[in-house]
């Protein structure tokens, strides 16, 4: 009973939840320069003078309330909607005036309603852009099979099927494969997982993050769901009406430091909790915790407990794995040996788990604290709620400092500009 089963150990969240690298270090892949869309001359623009950089290999999420112009913005990039003014620079090349169809063949495009061609087989659907680009049949077929494999659909089974034979989740996978067919450097995704049930959506998101870790595309991703934005985004742009950027930053910083009331309202309650997804247990400075081994005597245990500031002792089994929690009542209970009293340790997290996982373990633990274990299940430390409070405070301070530094820089730049023009 005291053996911790692996099921109790929380695995780290899906790839992408914790990123240490700064996405803006990579070169700029898409540069929007004062891009504007006006439908009715004289009326308010749908997208107002938007300047935005998307860096190579990042997922930039555009998120905002309905009608804020996020989809319009996405469609301006592949010129499904022609901008009224401004420039679009794609990998260093001004594409504002090149042939729109040629541009679109270089950009993967995934939409919520997928739009698979029902009269074509899955293979024909996936091979659409390669055929437009004039690839020969054998190269197209090879690529198609490769992509079906990549999105987890066995080519032998699905190649010759028609879209009507697929489930919603499978259809969306084919949609992603089709967008990736000609290996475009950039993908535009407009609420791609919006039309599937929550369980399938979660699975598709995780699969897609794994896929992205492999293919490293530059992705602009539109959603209205802040949770999806936080999960998928390397960076998030929160948009208000007319696609004005309210805040553009990493999810962790946006969650710890919303710049204004609009962002605060939009990310909603629980943003602090969501922020815990972005820190790993391994990054914590874990203080010592009183532990005893199976061969520790009762007197010794009593002494350790009295001498510590903690209410619980952690008993390790003979292989050094957490076994039971003991408080003074348990230690005083002489009817049974120490390793048979006290609640069994169930909630354990690995060192590479996120703080969110740790918090969950803490809440379910009978001692109100989460036990950290190494990969082999041996004891590594104990995390208490105070430590999380500290981390949350630190994240907020860091984010605030980041914005203060940013403002100071801007102010300095403005002064320099003013001095330059004077």
């Amino acid at each position: 009973m005291s053996e911790p089963s692996t099921a109790d150990t929380v695995e780290a969240g899906p790839a992408g939840m914790v990123t240490d690298r700064d996405p803006t270090d990579a070169p700029v892949m898409i540069h929007l320069d004062g891009v504007e869309k006006v439908y009715t001359p004289g009326a308010a623009p749908a997208v107002e003078k938007l300047t935005l950089d998307v860096h190579k290999g990042e997922i930039l999420v555009l998120v905002g309330p309905s009608g804020c112009g996020k989809s319009t913005t996405l469609r301006l990039i592949n010129r499904m909607i022609e901008p009224t003014s401004g420039r679009i620079v794609f990998d260093g090349e001004d594409v504002t005036d090149i042939d729109a169809n040629e541009l679109r063949r270089r950009i993967g495009y995934v939409i919520q309603r997928i739009g698979l061609f029902p009269h074509q087989t899955i293979a024909e659907n996936v091979g659409t852009v390669p055929r437009l680009l004039g690839w020969d049949a054998s190269r197209t077929q090879q690529r198609t099979d490769e992509l079906l494999d990549l999105v987890g659909l066995e080519p032998g089974i699905y190649r010759d099927r028609y879209p009507k034979e697929l489930s919603g989740g499978q259809a969306q996978r084919v949609g992603v494969a089709r967008a990736l067919a000609a290996d475009p450097p950039v993908m535009l995704m407009d609420e791609p997982f919006g039309a599937v049930d929550p369980i399938t959506r979660d699975r598709l998101q995780n699969e897609f993050l794994r896929l992205q870790a492999e293919v490293q595309k530059t992705i602009v991703f539109v959603t209205h769901d802040i949770d999806e934005a936080v999960k998928m985004g390397d960076r998030i742009a929160i948009l208000r009406e007319r696609s004005v950027v309210a805040q553009l930053d990493t999810p962790a910083r946006i969650l710890s430091y919303p710049v204004d009331e609009f962002v605060d309202d939009f990310i909603g309650s629980g943003s602090t909790l969501k922020g815990l997804h972005f820190e790993r247990v391994s990054g914590l400075d874990i203080p010592d915790y009183p532990v005893i081994r199976r061969d520790t005597s009762r007197e010794e245990a009593q002494r350790i407990l009295e001498g510590s500031d903690f209410r619980w002792l952690l008993l390790l089994d003979e292989r050094g794995r957490p076994a039971r929690w003991l408080n003074d009542a348990h230690v005083a209970d002489t009817s049974r040996p120490l390793h048979e009293v006290g609640p069994v340790v169930r909630a354990m997290v690995e060192r590479n788990a996120t703080l969110h996982d740790a918090l969950e373990a803490m809440i379910t633990s009978s001692a109100g604290q989460a036990v950290i274990v190494h990969r082999d299940g041996t004891y590594a430390g104990v995390v208490q709620i105070e430590l999380l409070t500290e981390v949350i405070g630190r994240m907020r301070r860091e984010a605030r400092r980041h914005y203060e530094a940013l403002e100071a820089n801007q102010a300095a730049d403005a002064t320099a500009d003013a001095a330059g023009t004077a």
């Binding site: 592949n78 499904m80 169809n101 040629e102 541009l103 679109r104 063949r105 495009y109 939409i111 309603r113 997928i114 739009g115 698979l116 061609f117 029902p118 009269h119 074509q120 087989t121 659409t128 852009v129 437009l132 028609y162 879209p163 009507k164 949609g175 089709r178 967008a179 535009l188």
Partner: protein, 218 residues
């Protein structure tokens, strides 16, 4: 029973004539249908996105169907003389509406998300039309072609009145010689073979439609 026996007798004695008339009839129908299909499908594609042109062309094609066939056939005699020509023009005008309407309806019914995906992958207007929109609208278009074919095969019987050929000549000869031997049998022969021809054409078109429609949208 005597009627049936004399009908069989008449048909048996006139097989070569019937084959000839049926072939004439078929040629008229096929020619008209080919022209009407090309014209109506192109017109449908052209007007589908233009509400005014769409209403105008559908309205006009509708009016054509209300003109009494006898009159419509005769109207063209001063322009093109007698024979098959005025008949073909009149039949062509009748054939437009079902094909035009179904082309427009079929194209309208294509899911906008599919067209958006096609456009988003870099298909031009023409590629979108031929690779996506027409293949998807095709089952509806071919249903229109079938309706027109049925209609034209029946109405083509009147061609004989403006000097044309076809199975209508049996009906006409029968009607003008009522009371004489085999007059009713002539009418029946014309009618029956028109019906048979229409059914055969419908079966053929049904088969063609099935073969040219992707299994994915059947």
């Amino acid at each position: 029973m005597d009627g049936v026996r004399s009908l069989v007798e008449f048909i048996g004695g006139n097989t070569s004539g019937i084959v000839e008339r049926t072939t004439e009839h078929l040629v008229i129908v096929l020619g008209v249908m080919l022209a009407a299909t090309l014209f109506s499908v192109f017109l449908g594609i052209a007007v589908q996105h233009r509400p005014f042109a769409k209403q105008l062309s559908l309205g006009t094609a509708g009016v054509m169907l209300t003109i009494p066939s006898l009159a419509l056939f005769a109207i063209f005699i001063p322009l093109v003389g007698i024979g098959n020509r005025p008949a073909q023009i009149a039949l062509f005008l009748y054939a437009i509406l079902p094909i035009l309407r179904n082309t427009v309806t079929g194209l309208d019914a294509v899911d906008p998300a599919i067209v958006e995906a096609a456009q988003g992958m870099g298909m031009g207007q023409v590629q979108q039309l031929f690779r996506v929109r027409i293949p998807l609208a095709w089952p509806v278009i071919i249903a229109g072609i079938r309706v027109s074919t049925q209609l034209i095969t029946g109405v083509a019987a009147i061609a004989v009145l403006v000097g044309g050929g076809g199975l209508g000549s049996y009906i006409q000869r029968g009607l003008t010689s009522l009371g004489n031997p085999f007059s009713i049998e002539r009418v029946w022969t014309g009618t029956i073979f028109i019906i048979v021809l229409a059914l055969v054409l419908d079966v053929v078109l049904g088969f063609v439609g099935k073969r040219t429609t992707s299994p994915g949208i059947r």
